[in-house]
């Protein structure tokens, strides 16, 4: 029965992974809706700068950093991230994030790609704690290392379009922060040579969602009976997450490409699939929990 259920689920996850760019594009029209009302008093669950002329919602990381500078607890931003993360984990990164979508599109350009080492994912927590929490809390929003002053998404979606539109309109042009532009340039160049460099190395929101991967309502389940230890999952993962430290690792963006191998599928707390623990595969034909 369980095997039959898994068989039914497999094509859906594979189809979902195949349609991912379209799903990302649909979400993009929600976050970047030129005809939608400006709901800047509502936090979106994705990394998207509210300075963008078309931004429909507020960025949770920007709100977190600004509220930290004000010494006020951001209940709405934290509540949004905990609620969405608790349900979906980093599915948000793989399917809904507009900055991730941009990186995926650039990543399709056929250039040599390098996989970042697993430890690089921990840098995201340094970014979160240092630039979005501690520096704003201690030095306020005027500090040059305040997160929004460095954010490449802010530069790309807010500062640059605003400067261009001011120049076109003949108004006084406020030049974007140079450091921000340099970081944006570095991230754009890195997009050509590694998959999702911002997400895997620096994104503070991805760091938080990654923590929910082991405890979210929907998760990736690993079926040890199906696993042939063929390393196909390893080959399918562009981010170097599999097979170690596991299918629900914090670095995973849940693109679902690995579900094509057959042993990995999407499960939920109400379904039959077991949430798997971190571990390594033996490579002997039998497999341990991952």
């Amino acid at each position: 029965m369980v095997a039959m259920a898994n068989e039914k689920r497999k094509p859906f996850t594979v189809r979902l992974a195949r349609e991912r760019p379209w799903i990302q594009a649909i979400f993009l029209t929600i976050w970047l809706g030129p005809f939608l009302p400006r709901l800047h008093n509502v936090c979106s669950p994705v990394f998207h700068c509210y300075s963008c002329p078309w931004a429909a919602f507020a960025c949770p990381v920007g709100v977190l950093a600004n509220f930290s500078a004000l010494h006020v607890f951001p209940f709405i931003a934290i509540g949004t991230v905990v609620l969405v993360g608790g349900v979906l984990g980093s599915f948000v990164c793989g399917y809904a994030c507009p900055f991730g979508f941009l990186q995926d599109l650039v990543g399709k350009i056929p250039t040599p790609k390098f996989v970042l080492p697993a430890w690089a994912g921990h840098v995201r927590y340094v970014v979160l704690i240092a630039f979005a929490l501690v520096i704003p809390y201690l030095y306020g929003e005027g500090h040059p290392l305040f997160f929004c002053s460095l954010c490449p998404a802010g530069a790309l979606e807010g500062a640059v379009p605003n400067a261009i539109s001011a120049a076109i309109a003949g108004n006084e042009v406020v030049w974007p922060n140079a450091v921000k532009l340099v970081i944006l340039g570095a991230v754009v160049v890195a997009m050509f040579f590694t998959q999702r460099p911002w997400c895997t190395l620096l994104c503070p929101l991805g760091a938080v969602y990654g923590l929910f991967n082991r405890a979210s309502v929907f998760f990736l389940g690993y079926n040890r009976e199906e696993c042939k230890a063929c390393d196909q999952c390893d080959a399918l993962c562009k981010y170097g997450v599999l097979p170690e430290p596991g299918v629900n690792a914090a670095r995973c963006i849940r693109c679902l490409d690995c579900t094509r191998c057959g042993a990995i599928s999407v499960g939920s707390i109400l379904g039959p699939a077991e949430r798997t623990k971190a571990g390594t595969r033996t490579g002997t034909g039998t497999s341990q929990d991952r």
Partner: protein, 123 residues
């Protein structure tokens, strides 16, 4: 059933925490903000009376056309009024998206502008 309950415990607790924070933040959380109101326009000064001349520019009788009152120089502007208001968290989120709030050394939160809000985030 017990297995599902065990598996669901942490995600359900997380969802409840998130939902609780969202409801509290959206409905009940507010913060006192110091706002500076636009200074009132100074009251109009009384106009000085200037008696009309009975002799015109050509030496003849004047036609009494020049205005009998002359504007006085404007008075000093009144100092800006400050007011403490409770701002709900959704409004605070909207304010921070335009760089509209700052924290003073005293710990008091203050709106950075008076009158029309800035059009975009300062960063």
């Amino acid at each position: 059933m017990r297995a599902i309950g065990k598996r669901a415990l942490v995600p359900v607790v997380l969802m409840l925490i998130g939902l609780g924070q969202l409801i509290y933040g959206a409905g009940f959380h507010s913060q006192s903000i110091l706002i500076e109101q636009e200074p009132d326009a100074p009251p109009p000064m009384p106009r000085r009376f200037e008696p009309p001349s009975f002799i015109g520019p050509d030496g003849g009788p004047a036609d009494f056309a020049p205005p009998p009152f002359v504007d006085m120089p404007p008075g000093a502007p009144s100092p800006p009024k400050t007011e403490l208001i409770a701002l709900a968290e959704p409004q605070m989120i909207h304010e921070v998206t335009i760089g509209g709030l700052t924290r003073l050394d005293t710990g008091q939160l203050k709106r950075t502008y008076s009158g029309a809000p800035p059009s975009g985030c300062p960063t």
